[in-house]
Structures are given as structure tokens and as C-alpha cells.
């Protein structure tokens, strides 16, 4: 086939990789641009995924093995310019190279909420306060959970909704993945340290997807995880570096205080730093939450107001790994249809 149509995918996380593989399988030439020096984005760094607890790396490996011949992945580059012309698009990169493309896919994903912003929780101030991402990194290195004093904690608190459902930090939305992550991590802490008590502080447990509720059930029945309904108001450090938590136990209607040895903050999603820049360069619509808007959430959820530019995965808002891959495949189908028929 002469003059294969070329598609540029910005971002080689799971959404970008899955879109690339599906489009290459449909016979298109695919170029991928990635700002990091490896594929897989956050999923590669995540030790295990809920609810099956499959290693994140295994998912990335599968997508890499199913790229259907895509070899042109530019690492360590960001997009510096998007020019639309009669032939399609001319995209410029930070290394002064450029490429032409018939269609673009923005798959720039997300970043985790910076927990320093919730100052009252003490991240970056108290040594025994970590995030869910820190905990995954620790699990991935095969290390055991240890306090700053080098001891195994005898009580750990998990705080849901950090940076999510919180007007104070400007994020009104639910990040969708933290509830299941928190319950998974509670189980994993109990597995690793059977003597350690685990308390989860939640507003609602949104165990909405298949097998999530079963995970919650397992955490209660098999692992004795304690759930307290109430959002953490403040955390302060004791002289021995343990942490005093203050919350309302909303099911008893009374304030509650409790000391823990370590605190894990379940950080939510925020848009990736490069998303807004690309949106401005390409003329895409940014939603009030900072994630990108599609043309129509029901009927055209991967196309944008700019013909030929598509969006996929967590660039559209918080999503699970399962849904990001499904969305990527839908995107590939939509682009294939658009390139062949013009709609």
C-alpha cells in the first residue's frame, strides 16, 4: 500500500500504546511521541492493579507486544507546535524535529495530585505520611512498610479522597480509582504485616465496578480492615513521630481522635502538565476540571471540535486501566472510520 496514512499519538501510556497497536493493526502508519524515556506511564510504576492485582508492568508488556509493528516511538520529546494545513497536520517537537500526520491522538493522561497542597495532612512535613503512589513504589521495589524510625508500623491509616471531591483544592470531581486502590492497599498492608491494624477513613466507598464490592467484602471478612466514615480534618505529629488524627466518625455523630504510626494518602487524578499547552496549540476545548472535552460524550466521545484530532484515556478525566484500554480501542475504530469515510 503506497502513501499510508500516518497518525501521530502524543503519549505512550497505556491509552497511547493501545491506540497505536490497534491503528497499526488496521494498516496505518503510526508514530508515537513520549516525554519520558519509557512507555507505560503511571501503569508501569504501579505495582499491582485492582481488583485482580495483576502487575501494572504485565499490562504494559502486553500492549508493547501487541503494537503490530509500530517502531517509531520518539522518547524524551514534547510537542512544541501543531500546525493544521490542507494535507493534515505538521507537529513540531522539543528536539527540533517534526512530523506530518493525517490525524492526531492526544493521550497525555494525568498526573497524581500533589499531596503537599493538602497541608493539614502533613505530607512533606511529617516523615510518616506517604501517598498511595509512594506505597506502590515501595511494593514494586519489594520493600516492607517501615516508619521513619525503621520499625514496622502497628497501625496504619488510609485517607480516601485526597485531592478529590474537594473544592478547597479546586477539584470538585471524583478520581474514580482511589477507593478501589485504597481497599487493595489496605489488604496488601495486612498481607505484608499481619500484626498491623489498618483503618480506612472514607466519605463514601465508591466500589462501582465489577469485582470492586467483592474486594471490599474480602478486606472486611478476610483481612479485618476497619472502615471509619469521616473525612480526615487534620493530622498532627507527636514527639515520637506517630501521628494524631482528628475526624468525625459520622456514623456515631461524634468527633474521634486516634494515633497511627503511618498515614497513606490516596491521591487523585489531575490533568497532566502538558495537556493544557497542547490544547492551546491545537485549539481543543478544556473542561472546567482541566481535562479535555470530547465532541459528544455519548455519540462522539473520542473526537474533538478540531477535525482530525482525537483524545483518548485519562486526558478526558479519571479512568481505570480497564476503561483506558477500552477507550483506546474505541478511538482507533473511530479514527479508522474517519480516515476512510471522512466521518
Amino acid at each position: 500500500m503506497l502513501n499510508k496514512q500516518r497518525i501521530l499519538i502524543i503519549g505512550a501510556g497505556i491509552a497511547g500504546l493501545a491506540t497505536a497497536g490497534a491503528l497499526a493493526g488496521n494498516g496505518f502508519e503510526v508514530v508515537v511521541a513520549e516525554k519520558e524515556n519509557q512507555t507505560g506511564g503511571h501503569t508501569r510504576k504501579w505495582d499491582r492493579l485492582f481488583p485482580s492485582r495483576r502487575p501494572g508492568e504485565e499490562v504494559v508488556g502486553y500492549l508493547e507486544n501487541n503494537l503490530n509493528g509500530v517502531t517509531d516511538i520518539k522518547f524524551g520529546v514534547t510537542v512544541t507546535g501543531v500546525i493544521r494545513n490542507e494535507a493534515g497536520f505538521l507537529v513540531q517537537f522539543s528536539d527540533n524535529t517534526s512530523t506530518t500526520a493525517d490525524a492526531l491522538v492526544v493521550a497525555t493522561g494525568f498526573q497524581v495530585f500533589d499531596a503537599h497542597i493538602k497541608e493539614e495532612y502533613g505530607y512533606g512535613i511529617y516523615e510518616n505520611v506517604i501517598t498511595s503512589a509512594d506505597l506502590e513504589a515501595l511494593f514494586r521495589e519489594g520493600k516492607r512498610l517501615t516508619t521513619s524510625e525503621g520499625k514496622h508500623p502497628s497501625r496504619v491509616g488510609l485517607i480516601h479522597c485526597v485531592g478529590s471531591r474537594d473544592e478547597k483544592v479546586g477539584n470538585l470531581y471524583c478520581s474514580k480509582v482511589c477507593c478501589a486502590t485504597g481497599v487493595k492497599q489496605a489488604i496488601e498492608i495486612r498481607e505484608q504485616l499481619p500484626e498491623c491494624e489498618v483503618f480506612s477513613f472514607y466519605m463514601d466507598l465508591r466500589m462501582y465496578d465489577r469485582h470492586f464490592e467483592e474486594l471490599y467484602f474480602e478486606a472486611q471478612q478476610q483481612w479485618g480492615v476497619n472502615f471509619i466514615r469521616g473525612r480526615l480534618s487534620e493530622c498532627s505529629e507527636n514527639p515520637d513521630h506517630t501521628l494524631l488524627l482528628k475526624t468525625e466518625d459520622t456514623l456515631t455523630g461524634r468527633p474521634l481522635r486516634m494515633n497511627v504510626d503511618m498515614l497513606v494518602l490516596l491521591v487523585g487524578f489531575i490533568p497532566a502538565p502538558g495537556t493544557r499547552e497542547i490544547a492551546e496549540m491545537a485549539g481543543l476545548q478544556v473542561g472546567s476540571d482541566g481535562f479535555l472535552n470530547s465532541l459528544d460524550e455519548h455519540f462522539n466521545d473520542n473526537a474533538t471540535t478540531v477535525p482530525g484530532i482525537f483524545i483518548t484515556g485519562a486526558v478526558k478525566g479519571p479512568t481505570t486501566v480497564v476503561n483506558a484500554i477500552a477507550d483506546a480501542r474505541a478511538t482507533a475504530q473511530q479514527i479508522t472510520s474517519w480516515l476512510k469515510t471522512g466521518h
Binding site: 471478612q221 479485618g224 456514623l251 456515631t252 461524634r254 468527633p255 474521634l256
Partner: protein, 110 residues
């Protein structure tokens, strides 16, 4: 003693670390299904005793989990053992045994 016209209010907050959690621990061993409670309130909504008195088994249980047992002894006597709570519980908690065991724990621990 001179009356200054004010007094010291007792602490209303639940002090989890100081509270006595022996009854909770006893229940966790003898009726582990109680750990499955999700605080939905189905039990209290259907409770025969709760419709005529301020008896609230869901709240009583939650307080118990935090080691708050002061109201337990007088409150638990209001249960008429009809078992409707157990019929409606979506998590399959064996509430009749919970009440039985609670009475036993109160006898033993006080």
C-alpha cells in the same frame, strides 16, 4: 468551694486509643460476620424496638467498634430478639448471635 459560675465540660470526642475494646475483640472472635457491616442502617430501619424506643443497633454497634460501651448495657435490653434485622441485613451479619454474645460479654466483662 467558691462557685465561679462555670465548670469543665467532659470531652465529647471518642478517644479511640484510651477506650476499652475488649467487648469488640470478643465479638470479633465469636461473631466475625459483624466485621462486614457497611453502616447502611437496614437493621435500625426495621427494628421493632427501635420504632418505640430510641434503640439504634447500627449506632450502638458503631460506637462499640470505637470502644464506646457506656450506653451498651441499658440499651441492649431493649432488643426483643425478633430477628428482623438479620432478615434485612445485606451483608449477612448474624445479628441474633451478636445480641446473644453482647449479653454474654456484658456478663463477663461488665
Amino acid at each position: 468551694m467558691k462557685d465561679f459560675g462555670f465548670n469543665v465540660q467532659p470531652d465529647f470526642a471518642i478517644d479511640f486509643d484510651r477506650n476499652d475494646k475488649r467487648i469488640t475483640e470478643y465479638l470479633a472472635i465469636h461473631e466475625p460476620s459483624l466485621n462486614l457491616c457497611i453502616g447502611c442502617g437496614s437493621c435500625t430501619g426495621t427494628c421493632t424496638a427501635g420504632h418505640f424506643t430510641p434503640f439504634n443497633i447500627r449506632q450502638l454497634h458503631t460506637l462499640l467498634r470505637r470502644g464506646e460501651t457506656s450506653r451498651l448495657k441499658p440499651e441492649i435490653k431493649k432488643c426483643m430478639f425478633c430477628g428482623k434485622c438479620q432478615l434485612v441485613c445485606p451483608r449477612g451479619v448474624n445479628l441474633r448471635n451478636v445480641i446473644l454474645r453482647l449479653n454474654r460479654a456484658i456478663e463477663r466483662i461488665g
